[in-house]
Symmetry: D2
Subunit: 339 residues, 4 copies
């Protein structure tokens, strides 16, 4: 932590900062520059509120030096984490890239089974689909709940696909954990800490979606909550952020893939469906994700998008998925991986 003093700070004011720094159990190091005096602080600063020191007289600002996350960091754990999902234990984070596909919401038993079979046939390793749906409007379809979970479980039994489904609250977590293979924490809940702590106590992989305007640091701190609670099987999912651009639903930020690979040992998958909001862009963004180094893809698939109960605009058909897979495989090979 570096405390930058305003120009004209007196010796007493610098000394006051030194005293505050020592109060927090840190060791100081004062540097007198040509225009500014700075106080470098040495020690474990994790419990210090940097904002507090910013309120001392003549302090201009406080610059943190350390990343605030620890267990999610490549500094602490050098080898990459591989998270095994589903009945067949597909390893997310290894050399092979995993395709997870399915409808936004589970709409019915036969429907989800049919889609699961198509995803499997296309080469998928996981089935996505919401039984509990967090919807922006209270008037939108909210999902089939536990019945939907049972349909997903049946689809798994028939296909061997790993079930990835969202958990929307602490109260419905036990039900979701009973049926799901991977607990998805949605973007809206990325900073709902009681839920992060709760999934941290379950022995199931967690797919954590990046919040709609979460920074890389906040994203990794959310993962840190889960790891800190005891669960190291965390898969990060980039799904786009909100910007000024109205043409797309979200702005898919693929540079997060190499960034996260540098900062954390956790595997990273990409959701190009939410990341764009337009079915026609999904194949191009699947390709780009694989090329950028993603460990997996999360794609919305529906066989009748015009009548989908949610997210129709961004769902591709199973046929489109099947046609896309060979292209993705060739790209995976081009970057030294398989799919």
């Amino acid at each position: 932590m570096i405390v930058v003093m305003k120009p004209g700070a007196t010796t007493e004011q610098v000394q006051h900062v030194v005293d505050v720094v020592r109060d927090y159990g840190l060791k100081e190091h004062v540097i007198f520059g040509t225009d500014r005096t700075v106080v470098a602080c040495i020690g474990d600063k994790r419990m210090v509120d940097k904002g507090a020191i910013e309120n001392a007289p003549m302090v201009e600002r406080v610059v943190p030096i350390l990343a605030p996350y620890k267990m999610a960091s490549t500094e602490v754990k050098k080898d990459r984490t591989i998270v095994k999902i589903g009945p067949e234990g597909f390893p997310i984070g290894g050399n092979r890239i995993g395709m997870i596909a399915g409808p936004c919401a589970v709409e019915g038993r036969e429907h989800i089974i049919r889609l699961a079979e198509q995803v499997k046939a296309a080469g998928g390793v996981g089935l996505r689909g919401g039984a509990f749906k967090p919807r922006t409007s209270p008037y939108s379809f909210q999902g089939h709940g536990v019945e939907g979970l049972k349909m997903l479980a049946e689809a798994r039994d028939r296909t061997g696909l790993a079930i990835v489904t969202e958990v929307v609250g602490v109260d419905t977590l036990p039900a979701v954990a009973e049926y799901a293979d991977v607990l998805q924490v949605g973007a809206r809940n990325m900073q709902h800490y009681p839920l992060l702590e709760a999934v941290g106590k379950v022995d199931k992989p967690v797919l954590l979606k990046r919040g709609i305007t979460a920074t890389l640091q906040e994203f990794l701190l959310a993962a840190e909550y889960i790891i800190d609670a005891g669960n190291q099987q965390v898969i990060l999912c980039e799904r786009g952020v909100r910007t000024f651009e109205k043409y797309v639903r979200n702005t898919l930020t693929l540079s997060m893939v190499p960034a996260l690979k540098a900062e954390t040992h956790l595997p990273v998958v990409v959701d190009p469906s939410h990341g764009t909001g337009h079915a026609y862009m999904v194949p191009a963004m699947c390709r780009a994700s694989v090329a950028a180094g993603a460990d997996g893809l999360l794609v919305e698939v529906h066989d009748d998008p015009e009548h989908a109960m949610s997210d129709g605009a961004q769902s591709i058909t199973p046929q489109a998925l099947q046609e896309e897979m060979p292209v993705l495989k060739r790209i995976a090979e081009a970057v030294g991986r398989s799919m």
Copy 2:
């Protein structure tokens, strides 16, 4: 809802859209323009996923016409909602503007009582302070929990101030509801629907903070969840949004005040502390909020900001609050209100 066809759409493709629209129970109205054909849809579209129709062949986009919120809207309820808070029933949303102040977190019994007395003396009507703290990092101070709530209750008993405190999850809601006068739903939880539904079933006023990148529409839909669950005592709180600007913690968007006043009958308060992140800007932004038409202010106050357990950088002192109040009163009078 207006469905815009791409140029070159055939009669069959337009007819297909008409069929889909009718499937959803709507009545269509086709208009052939010079460059585009559009299909205007008439009827209650609340349950239609506009995205689904966007997937029909040769559809360019679908433009919703109606706002998706209803009970929060000035269309449905013309008279303004007044929410009475605290033992003295101060009316938020009436002519008088209410000052709610206090520390970010409850730090100790004597401390919170002393601050409450100072807030009261300055002319405040509510005491803010967190007992449960949602923190970005698992290593930050997480609040005193139920003990903190009891301290707040004691501060209320001594001063008559309304207690405004955050509820961070469904599981701790009963405890918070027992002690608090106003249940604060924080920005990170604005779209945590289980919590919105749960506070919607409690007979206490709710102060709903705008999410860090929530649109006006999403903000009002979050309020709609609470009202839809049965609780009409909703106070909206503008607290700034995230932008590219690093100089401030958040960008306080005061134009939301007149915008919300036009769109909803609910009262609107402003939090200039989170809205800026810098204590030195808080007085100017309090003034601007009152001038813009806010029904109340939520201000962080601390008597030793350099040692505050959180949000020290944005807390003003009780003395600064006391000095600011007469200015705010004069501005309130300038716009035909009182404080």
Copy 3:
């Protein structure tokens, strides 16, 4: 400038950074922390590209300490700059707040004279209006050019108002400088450096609008270009930034007013018309601007907004302006100023 090394950096790698730092003519100061080594650099760093050093092996990042602007800064010039505008030399930046109003574009001779008289009657000190219009679309009305400038000059002669009008390029600057009292540099041109340098060589006040996503630092660096070229009469104009919110045209960031007042000695005016895009919000945002400490307002006024040649949606009528002025005066008095 602080160079933060990655954990595990060797003594040789730190020494290499020290060498690079010395190459740039700086003095180094190495601090060995618990987790990181940092190299603090002392000296004049204005000509150093911090990015270059970031490319040295095992450098994590480089944190600049000094603000990159100098002459615009309160550090270099303590007393506030007052810019006198128009035939009557109204002082922008003093105790009295100036209202500058007028249509988006000059539409015709009689029209602009009539509006000027109404602005004068309402208590305005300046007349805004574009003769050269930078328009997003090549098919939009581009302004009356030099003829428009002559109309503005005539309006000035009749009313004594200061003429504030936009200069869109270096080639048309001489014409604009001949007729205008204040040269407006628009948001789109805030980083068009040839224009900044050119207006820096003219002896006329410059009203510099903040770019649509310019940071505070970039805004002041743009002002620095003008001052560096020789012109100290710079008025900064906050006009809102682009965010995700679609409800407003721009998000007016009033916290920029106290922020700029702290960082620079230059006067600051606010444009609530572009800052919101909706006429109905303009009065509330005028009030908030005055309360926040603005030195002036720039407001779009039109007597027939439904037929305005541009920006009709955000123009208020002269009547609305006249009714608003007494309220603004009362707020000015409430904060110890006049209007």
Copy 4:
């Protein structure tokens, strides 16, 4: 254009809108919905300021239907534009993907020639490098000007590479046009209309960079300015946008590639150097760009990034470029193209 009336609009108010619409030479079509009345307008609306109509009484908002650009649109020109660049006429926009690489700024004669030879050896088709540099700070290195242009020309003569270099203003355009093969209009100048019009009158290809927060629509309108002035050889360049994320310099929005391919016939290249700001991310983003369908890449290369005169942090070495090319070629083949 669809005019949406507020609920409760009277027949007279709707008729008033109809009158205004007819004043603008449009034909109206009134639809009475369950909650809203809308007035659909038919005709050429390019010269109508939609904002003006928004000011009519009881109008809620005006929704444009047509894209405002025309000649840049795939609607008007179905076949894709191919822009031939440099002495060898490399076709940007065809099946083969072009690599354009070089330093941020031309730093010296031998340096640029050496780099050009390395770019050529790696398989590049163009040499980028700034002779006139638009710099955020007046104290940064501003480029070697005409001398730099001559060095670039010499590098072209030796290698056959197309010279891509920035034109920063109308006054220096003749000099740049004399030496350059492709006139680069930088992000800061994307809406400097006098420059767009000026390059529109030159018979040289233009590489137009997207503004730092330009929307897709504004980007294409900027291209429209150039085409409208007579120059159809426009190459669009995606270079990232500004968001809240501080980890990267810009957020590279690769979904713009399929979006632009759908909306315009112009070729699209990507600049992953500015798009990320970090050399280590550049290879991954080059790969993703090719996979997403880009027609070319613009990459900053420097053989001594630690001492680069600008943009050192985001420059890769010629060696890194050479190693990356075979991977990019394999990805190009995977998507049915060559490189």
